[in-house]
């Protein structure tokens, strides 16, 4: 490669290995290219105004004389009155698209669209030497010379129809790719004959070149629904532009929406938004993550506009929409749909957003949380020691509200953090899982946290905790909490403790209720004694449950009954109570 060849390639943007090899081995070329670098690195003082100031000045100039419009505002609504305008726009776009494609060749190395079939989208550029064309055919897609003018048109029509149905298709495609018959093929898209148009569209669906969008637009504007479908299959940005302009045609909106979704492009989301297709569930589902940017833009607008996009966010499961949906959780009007959308999107980020917003007794958020499978996220939050205490406490409350035994191990681990012990105890109590008992019993030795641990043990109701609670109750300051927990457990082994508690005004009602539940005969005489106290009604009911007797609530009647039952007189109220 000579230096001149190298520079020609380099300045065309070629960075192939051969070009790189030359620059690496040629000091002369390197020195020449270094000039570019020095020019680029030269940093003169730039204009000092900010971008905002520049725009403000520009706006004032623009507003002093509004620009004439090439075409009206983008299509935003469908309806019979609009369709002709859209059809006109489609034809205009077809012309524009063809012109647009003239420039495609020069940016082909950058474009992300599928590479055009050789000879279809290429165009000679003014002042630029076109690459040698082996066939000598002009690649201009708009007015290509037809190299076989002697063949009658009907012959072409026959071959087109045959190729569309499969006969001689390979030969036809080869001809078209080489530029032969291309003008006639393009003309067929405009044909008044629906069958001929259909055949042209069928060939386009086989070639699948984004450069065909303008031709397909013409066929679609004439009513070929298949052309709309093929535009969706092409998937190029040209298709999106053309499809957006076709949305106003009567009876074609559904096909257009479907085709836009099929392109899978982010711009298609914008187009769906522009034509107001927010309720098209299937389209948003199909567009998926590609719909994210358009949805996010709409969610940012807030109000009714955002509400329309929430469902689309849910259908497309767009992870991009999560931060915006999280903001909508804070507003009463959008809280519920946003929560449902986040639940549908799923993932740790969505789960964290819901957990963050969850207050106690917030059924909307909790219902959404329960439908998700991201429980891990909130457990991580609970156990993340880097987070501030209120965040972790909130996470524990969310787990408690969600229910389910899966979170018990995380909550037991949370008991290790002093600031979480009370809330984790409460949560474990609410979840009523016996595996938490040993950890909670361990907390009974901690003066500060034992009331919540005792309450949790009481709710869990495991008899294995009774001995520890009874032992802890010997400390006077903890007696009441421990006894309430023992009463809540209502285990037979706690009967002596409960009988003793009948003499303690603050816990006597709980003790009576527990004794009624346990139905132990040892409690009868103490309960007869309790008939003389302020808890007579509860004691009377407990006595009837335990003994099966239907005596009135007077203590004397129950004493007589007792004496009749125990004629030997060994037991007495005095000795017992």
């Amino acid at each position: 490669m000579t230096c001149e060849e190298f520079l020609a390639l380099w300045d065309r943007g070629d960075r192939s290995p051969e070009v790189a090899a030359h620059v690496a081995s040629c000091p002369g070329c390197r020195a020449l290219l270094a000039i570019d670098g020095r020019v680029r690195d030269w940093q003169p003082a730039l204009p000092a105004s900010s971008e905002a100031e520049f725009l403000a000045k520009l706006r004032s100039k623009i507003e002093s004389r509004p620009a004439p419009r090439l075409r009206g505002p983008r299509p935003v609504a469908s309806g019979p009155a609009h369709w002709l305008r859209f059809a006109a726009a489609a034809v205009l776009l077809a012309a524009m698209g063809a012109a647009f494609l003239l420039g495609r060749a020069s940016r082909a190395p950058e474009t992300k669209e599928a590479a055009p079939v050789a000879g279809l989208g290429d165009a000679p550029k003014k002042d630029v030497e076109p690459p040698p064309d082996p066939d000598g055919s002009s690649p201009d897609p708009e007015v290509p010379p037809d190299p076989v003018p002697d063949k009658p048109k009907s012959d072409f029509r026959d071959r087109l129809m045959a190729a569309a149905s499969g006969a001689g298709r390979e030969a036809f495609l080869a001809q078209v790719k080489r530029g032969v018959d291309r003008a006639r093929w393009f003309a067929a898209f405009r044909s008044p004959d629906a069958k001929e148009r259909g055949a042209a569209v069928t060939i386009a669906s086989i070639v699948k070149d984004a450069a065909m969008a303008p031709q397909l637009a013409v066929a679609a504007a004439k009513g070929d629904e298949n052309a709309i479908t093929v535009l969706g299959e092409l998937g190029g940005i040209e298709s999106v532009v053309v499809l957006a302009s076709l949305a106003g045609m009567p009876g074609k909106r559904e096909a257009v929406v479907e085709a836009l979704a099929a392109t899978g492009r982010p711009e298609a989301g914008d187009a769906l938004a522009a034509i107001g297709a927010w309720k098209s569930e299937a389209a948003w589902r199909r567009l998926g993550q590609a719909g994210g940017p358009a949805i996010v833009a709409r969610l940012r607008l807030g109000g009714d506009a955002a509400l329309a996009a929430v469902d689309a966010a849910s259908w497309s499961r767009s992870a991009r929409a999560v931060p915006e949906l999280a903001k909508l959780l804070g507003k009463a009007g959008t809280r519920e749909p946003a929560a449902k959308a986040l639940a549908a999107i799923g993932g740790k980020q969505a789960f964290a957003a819901l957990a963050e917003a969850a207050d106690e007794d917030d059924e909307v958020i909790l219902a959404a949380l329960k439908t998700m499978s991201g429980r891990d996220a909130v457990e991580d939050r609970l156990l993340d020691v880097r987070l501030k205490s209120p965040d972790r406490v909130r996470a524990a409350r969310v787990l408690m509200k969600m229910g389910g035994q899966e979170s018990v191990p995380a909550l037991i681990r949370a008991l290790e953090s002093p600031d979480l012990r009370d809330v984790a105890s409460e949560a474990l109590g609410a979840l009523r899982d016996e595996s938490a008992v040993p950890a909670l019993v361990g907390l009974l030795s901690e003066r500060r946290h034992r009331p919540s641990a005792a309450a949790a043990l009481g709710r869990i109701g495991s008899p294995t905790a009774v001995a520890a609670l009874t032992a802890a109750s010997r400390e006077r300051s903890f007696y009441e909490e421990a006894t309430r927990a023992i009463a809540a457990i209502a285990a037979p082994e706690s009967v002596p403790h409960l009988i003793a508690a009948l003499g303690e005004r603050s816990v006597a009602p709980a003790a009576i209720a527990a004794l009624e539940k346990i139905r132990d005969a040892r409690a009868v005489l103490p309960l007869i004694g309790a008939l003389g106290t302020e808890n007579a009604a509860a004691a009377h009911r407990a006595l009837m449950v335990i003994t099966g007797e239907k005596l009135p609530g007077r203590q004397g009647d129950w004493v007589k009954w007792w004496k009749a039952k125990h004629k030997d007189g060994k037991n007495s109220l005095v000795t017992c109570y």
Binding site: A67, P68, G72, P73, G103
Partner: protein
């Protein structure tokens, strides 16, 4: 439909231009912000005057807005825009004949505004066309085909001017 959607910043130029043609100012401003930085750097290096450069950018973007109906997508949007900006800058560099009498003193770029380092002096000594081509290649990163299209010259002319500019500047800098 309620509010128009703000255009995503990663929208292709041609789609934004299409929106702007429909009267969407936000889309046009997105394009302005996308190209303002390079445009300022390019015009400042071309004109070697911050004030003139700012005026050139204002004039160029205003002409682009008003000329949008004429953008037919035959070239890339950025090529079309650079052509307008280069013309706007040249309009400021070359006073119109009828205004020469009034502007002959103020039209001369004030050289002390831009730091007079060797590269600046070297670029200033290049003929106009060579300076434009070199700056479009080095500063804007356009390839020769885009430069030719933007300046309305042939590919070979662009190539020759670039080659001459590089060689001359290399001599001046060594």
């Amino acid at each position: 439909m309620t509010n128009p959607l703000p255009p995503p910043s990663d929208f292709p130029d041609e789609l934004l231009a299409g929106r702007a043609q429909g009267g969407d100012r936000t889309a046009f401003e997105t394009l302005v912000l996308r190209y303002l930085g390079p445009a300022r750097a390019f015009c400042t290096k071309l004109l070697r005057d911050q004030v003139l450069a700012e005026d050139a950018c204002q004039d160029g973007f205003l002409k682009a807005w008003r000329g949008l109906p004429g953008f037919r997508g035959e070239a890339k949007f950025r090529t079309w825009l650079w052509r307008i900006l280069v013309n706007a800058a040249n309009d400021l560099r070359k006073p119109k004949p009828e205004a020469i009498g009034e502007r002959e003193f103020e039209a001369v770029p004030e050289r002390d505004v831009v730091a007079e380092d060797a590269v600046a002096r070297g670029v200033a000594e290049l003929p106009d066309r060579q300076r434009e081509v070199l700056l479009m290649r080095a500063e804007l990163g356009l390839d020769l085909e885009e430069i030719a299209a933007a300046l309305g010259i042939t590919y070979d002319a662009a190539k020759a001017n670039l080659s001459l500019a590089r060689k001359k500047l290399r001599e001046l800098l060594t």
